[in-house]
Every structure is written in structure tokens, then in C-alpha cells.
Amino acid sequence: MSDDGLLQQRWVRLGASAAVVLVVLGAVGSMMFGWDLERLLTVGFVNRSLQMATPITLAAIGGLYAEKSGVFNIGLEGFMIIGAISTAGVLFALGGTTPSQGDIWIAMVAAVLVSLVLTAIFAVLLIDYQADQIVAGLAVWFIGLGFAPFVASLVWGSRNSPGLASIDNVTVPGLSEIPWIGPVVFDQSPLVLLTLVLVIASWVFLYRTRYGYWVQAAGENPKALDTAGVNVTRVRYATVLFSGAMAGFGGAVLLAHAGNFVGTGDTMVNGRGWIAIVAYLFGNYNPLGAAAAAVLFGGLDMLQVQFQTAGIDVPSRLVNLFPYVIVIVVLSVWGKTRMPSAVGESYDQEE
């Protein structure tokens, strides 16, 4: 399969170049400015980077499936907000301000269901009524930004929820003592591990199963898929629903890690849905690439925090912009992210 071979090459290249950049940065920093690398690159840093990457990865995978099938779901950010508020709401309904760990899981499932229902409406408008995908996606964002704090106001009398509960790490006794690997793998949020599984599963699904072929075909040449006897509309419904569910799940994970809902400003989602879109474009629509890109963003973000903690004087406001600059530079140097050719076009089965 030379196509995903090509894709793999690309994300390997991407990961490698990111690694090179980091290593060079580290070497230059430690030699010229006397950075204490041990203080910068801690286990906690790795864990936080992974946790930061998790919601982004989830939304990115959903988004890339939708786009692969020809529907640009630009509303990921909105669905993440919806996922977060739903989780918070259900969690509060189940256990007030002291919900149990079980409640968190139930709340996340509920959030995915809520996202699914709303995505279903979105999908009908997009697919059956041929809504403009960019516009409708932006609308989802506006709706999330408006209604999530509104709901919070109704439930808690405030745009922010009180503290609810955050999810506990899964700790494997003994194994978690292994240096480095132990705390990263065996004392880790179950959601990070689950995301890893989902990333691999979605890669296999996309490139090794018939349904994956259909998804790709729907985005490249829907008519060909149609004439092959596969219902394009159904494929697109499936991927759009999946994208909403995954973005909602991403929001749920964000909340489960944070432990409370914040609806002020751009809400607690704070642009992660947009980064998710960038992540999958950056990863060239490959789930593994998207995850790698998300980890790269997460890592850069957290590195900046490490700099602050280690007292390396950087204007954090400017350093925070680093990932955005990197995205622009990489896009310009590598150029061309080839979008599936039928993205944004609605498909008429007949007449």
C-alpha cells in the first residue's frame, strides 16, 4: 500500500524532525545557557504532555475520519465544549460535588451520547440538507461557546461548575516502580491508555478493513464508491457521527482530567479543537500521524511550563506561541497537505 506507506514516511519524518529540533534545542540550551536538562525533562513532563495530547488526539482522529470521507467537520471545538459540559452536568447530577470514579465513566459515556445526538442533527443538515460545511462547523463552535456557559449558569448559577471529581490513575503495583517506563505506562490515566488503543485501532480500521477503504473512497470519489454499490451517505453519516462522538469524548476526557467545568472566556477547551484540526492535517490524515502531532504540541506546551518552573527566563506569553509558529513553518517548508478531493462537496445519490 504505497499510499499509506507514503503517509507513514511523512509522519516518521515529522516525528524525527521534531525529535531533532528538541535535541538540538536541548543541547544548545544546556551548553550555552546552562539549562538543567534533568529538571526540564521529567517523568511528570512526559505524563503531562501525554495528558495534554489526549483530548486533542481524540478530536483529531474523529475529525480526520470525517474529512477522509469528504465532510470537513470544522466544529470539533464546539463538540469538545459540548462533551465537556455534558460530562460535568451528568457528573453533577449523579454525585453532586462528590461523585465516584464510576460516576465519571458513566458521565463520559453520557457525554458521548449527547454529542452523538447533537452530531446526528449536524449530520442531517450537512449530508441530507447539504449545509455549507465550513459555516455549519463554525456555527457549532458559536453554539458551544454560547450554550455551554448558559447551561452551566442554569445548573450551577455560574458559568463554572464547582469542583466535581477527576479520574484516578491506573497504577500497577510493582511495575509502576520501573524507572521512566513505570510511571508513564503503569501509573497513568486510563484515558491516556485508552486513547492509545483507539489511535491504533483507528489506524487499522482505516487502512486494513473494508470500511476503511469505503471511508477513503467516499472522500476521494464518492461516485466511484456509489457505483461500487456502497451507500456513500451512510458512510459519511457514520464518520460524521464518529467525529462528533470522538470530539465529545475528547471534551469529556479534558473534563475528567481537570475535574471541573470552566465556561468563562473561550471555555476550558480553549482552542484545543482547532489544534486538533491542525494536528490531523499536520499528521496528513493518518491517525498515527495525528497522534504524533498532538504529542508534539502537548510536549511543546509543557516544555514551556518546564522552562518556567526551572526558572529559565522566557516571556511565557511569547513562548506559548511557539507551537503556532512551528505549525506555520512546517506547513510552509513541507507545504501541501493534500486534502481528499471531494471534501466539502455534498453528494447526491440521485437527482
Binding site: 459555516v135 458559536f142 453554539i143 448558559f150 516571556p315 511569547l318 506561541l321 505549525v327
Partner: protein, 378 residues
């Protein structure tokens, strides 16, 4: 060819113009926009009712808040001025097939360029009306130049490096807000400022107050917006540059085959869009702020501009009513904020719904057909 008499000719031209105006698609777009707004408001009212508030009161307050008093009208026009300009910036790009999501960033860059250029040159110019006019001119020109440059950047990256403009402009928004935020809190921080902002513009740098006495609104600002709309509409429909841009937007290959340099056109489009965004920033800074604050806390005019442009089907003229509608909603939001218990976030949600429904013309065609409107039974 048969020769046609003069009167016939002019008559046929008139008919042609009338034909454009009565174009079914134009009427249809208007119908869709009205339908979408009405539908969204209806859903908003239902939600208000479900949340236990009085929907009729809410509806009344929407109207009163938008147009109920001189103050409300001034406020509506103030928001509308910015929405029209930002929407115009977006529309220009979308028309030409370039997705400039970066109007917010260009707006911020234009705004700070305007303020700083005025502050730095003010000491060398006379005070009073003459100085004010000169300084406003300098500020506006700088805003347009810097906004244009900041728009040209992603345009050039798209044209010459193939970088997807949707992504680069989103990134450049974050960067503009971050950098300008850092500037106004650091190097550009006003000496006497107690909060995070630049120095204030001299008080003779202001648009004259005519008709309305709102401190943050001047008819001049709205006039600038309307003139910009007319200018852009003229450029797009009457000049060959506009033809090149719009043609690229409809069908890039055909444009290229007709001799349009697609790369230059992309850059030109993004530059023009950025220039209008920059102008928006200048109007915001001069008419409303009088200084420049941390852009993280400034309204999302650039994003709202996307909604406005879409509601107007990316038509520059249509941006005016769409901008006024959004201005009215926003203004009603302010009013409701002050006069009612309904959480004001609802307004944002309703705007979201309006945008959502605008995206679905088919839905309204269907509703229209079912209700026996629209005429053609497809």
C-alpha cells in the same frame, strides 16, 4: 449583427439590471437569511421558556435593546460598524475562494499599528482639529498597511509554499493576539496607564459626534463602513481586478487559463482582505477604545465577521444588512445583560443557531416549497 436603436438598447440594459436585482437567487438568499434568523430566534425563545424565563419579555427586550431608544440605536450601529467592516474583510476573501479565518489577527495588528503610529507622531504635529484629522489619516493608513501585510503573509505562504491558509490564518490569530498582548503589557505600555493598555490617543483624535451623542459611536465610523462596502462592491463587480479575484474564487483553473496569475491573485486578495480588517481595527481603536488594550479581551469581531459574511452569502452589499442584524443582536445582548436575568450567553448561542441555519439553504428551500412559497416546484 442587427443594429439596435439607442432606446431599445438602453431599455434592454435597464431590463438587464432589473433582472439582476430581481434575480431569484438574490431574493432567495434574502429569504433564507430571514428564515434562518427567525428560526434561530424561535428556538432561542423556546429555550428561554424552558429555562423558566418569560419568552415574551425576552423577545420584547431583544427589540427594545436593539432599536428601542436613541442609545440602543447608537449601540446597534456601533456594533454594526465593526461587523460590517469585518464581514466585508471576510467576504472579499471568501468571494475569491480564499478562506481568510485570520481577520481577527489582522484586525488586531491593524488596531495596534493605528494606535502606536498616532501616539508616536502626535508630538510632531499640531493639536486641535487639523492635527486630529492628520493623525487619524496616519493611523488609518498604518492600520491598512499593517493589516494588509499581516494578511499578505498567509496569502504568500499559500501561493508560494502551498501552506493551507485556513490553518496558517488560525495560527496567525493566536500569534497576533499573543504578541500584541505582550507588547501592550511591556514595550508599548502607557506610562500613566493603570491597566494593561497603551497610552491614550490625544483627545482631539476622535471622530466628530454628529446625530448621536454616544461616546463610542460616531456616524463617521458607520459612514466609513458603508463607503468601504460600496468601494469593495465596485472593485469586485466593475473592475478587472475584481473580476480576476472573483473568477479565481469560482473556478481557479479557468481563471488561470484566462491569464490570471493565481498566485498573485491569492496574495492580492489576502492583502485586500487584511487591509479591510486593518481598517476595522483602526475604527475600533479610534472610535471605541481610544487606546489599545490586551487583544485577548477584545471582542471576536473577526470571527463574527465570518458569520456576517456567510449570512450575506459573501456578497459585499449583503454584508450591510447582515452586519446590522448581528449588531442588533449584540446590542440587544448588552441591553439584556443590563436589564434582564436571562444569562447573556444565550445571545451567543442564538447567533450560533442563526449561522447554523444560514448554512443550510436547502432546509429553507424545502420549508419554502412546502409552504407554497418560492414558486418553482423542484
Amino acid at each position: 449583427m442587427s443594429s439596435v436603436s439607442d432606446t431599445d438598447e438602453s431599455k434592454s440594459r435597464l431590463e438587464r439590471i432589473a433582472g439582476y436585482l430581481l434575480d431569484a437567487t438574490v431574493l432567495e438568499r434574502i429569504g433564507i437569511a430571514v428564515g434562518a434568523t427567525a428560526f434561530a430566534l424561535l428556538i432561542g425563545l423556546v429555550i428561554v421558556a424552558l429555562a423558566g424565563y418569560d419568552p415574551f419579555r425576552f423577545a420584547t427586550q431583544l427589540v427594545v435593546g436593539a432599536f428601542g431608544s436613541e442609545r440602543a440605536i447608537a449601540r446597534t450601529l456601533r456594533f454594526s460598524t465593526l461587523f460590517v467592516l469585518a464581514g466585508l474583510a471576510v467576504a472579499v476573501a471568501f468571494r475569491a475562494g480564499v478562506f481568510n479565518i485570520g481577520v481577527q489577527g489582522q484586525f488586531v495588528v491593524g488596531g495596534i499599528a493605528c494606535v502606536m503610529s498616532i501616539i508616536w507622531t502626535a508630538p510632531y504635529l499640531p493639536t486641535g482639529t487639523v492635527g486630529g484629522v492628520l493623525l487619524i489619516g496616519i493611523g488609518v493608513v498604518n492600520a491598512i498597511v499593517f493589516g494588509g501585510l499581516y494578511g499578505a503573509l498567509p496569502g504568500a505562504l499559500k501561493a508560494y509554499a502551498g501552506a493551507n491558509e485556513i490553518i496558517t490564518t488560525i495560527m496567525l490569530n493566536f500569534i497576533a493576539i499573543g504578541v500584541v498582548g505582550w507588547l501592550v503589557n511591556g514595550p508599548f505600555r502607557g506610562e500613566e496607564a493603570t491597566s494593561v493598555r497603551t497610552e491614550q490617543l490625544p483627545d482631539y483624535v476622535a471622530f466628530p459626534q454628529v446625530v448621536f451623542s454616544d461616546p463610542n459611536f460616531s456616524v463617521v465610523g458607520f459612514g466609513i463602513a458603508v463607503l468601504s462596502v460600496i468601494g469593495v462592491a465596485f472593485v469586485l463587480t466593475r473592475t478587472r481586478y475584481g473580476y480576476d479575484m472573483v473568477t479565481s474564487g469560482y473556478q481557479a483553473t479557468a481563471a488561470r487559463f484566462s491569464g490570471v496569475d493565481s498566485k498573485q491573485t491569492i496574495v492580492a486578495t489576502m492583502t485586500l482582505s487584511g487591509m479591510i480588517a486593518g481598517l476595522t481595527g483602526a475604527v475600533f481603536a479610534i472610535m471605541i477604545q481610544g487606546s489599545y488594550t490586551d487583544p485577548a479581551g477584545i471582542g471576536n469581531y473577526g470571527f463574527d465577521g465570518i458569520a456576517v459574511s456567510l449570512l450575506a452569502a459573501n456578497n459585499p452589499i449583503g454584508v450591510v444588512p447582515a452586519g446590522i442584524l448581528f449588531g442588533g443582536l449584540e446590542s440587544a445582548g448588552s441591553h439584556i445583560q443590563i436589564r434582564s436575568d436571562v444569562p447573556v450567553q444565550l445571545i451567543n448561542g442564538i447567533i450560533g443557531l442563526v449561522v447554523l441555519f444560514v448554512a443550510v439553504p436547502e432546509l429553507f428551500r424545502m420549508i419554502g416549497a412546502r409552504m407554497g412559497l418560492g414558486g418553482d416546484d423542484r
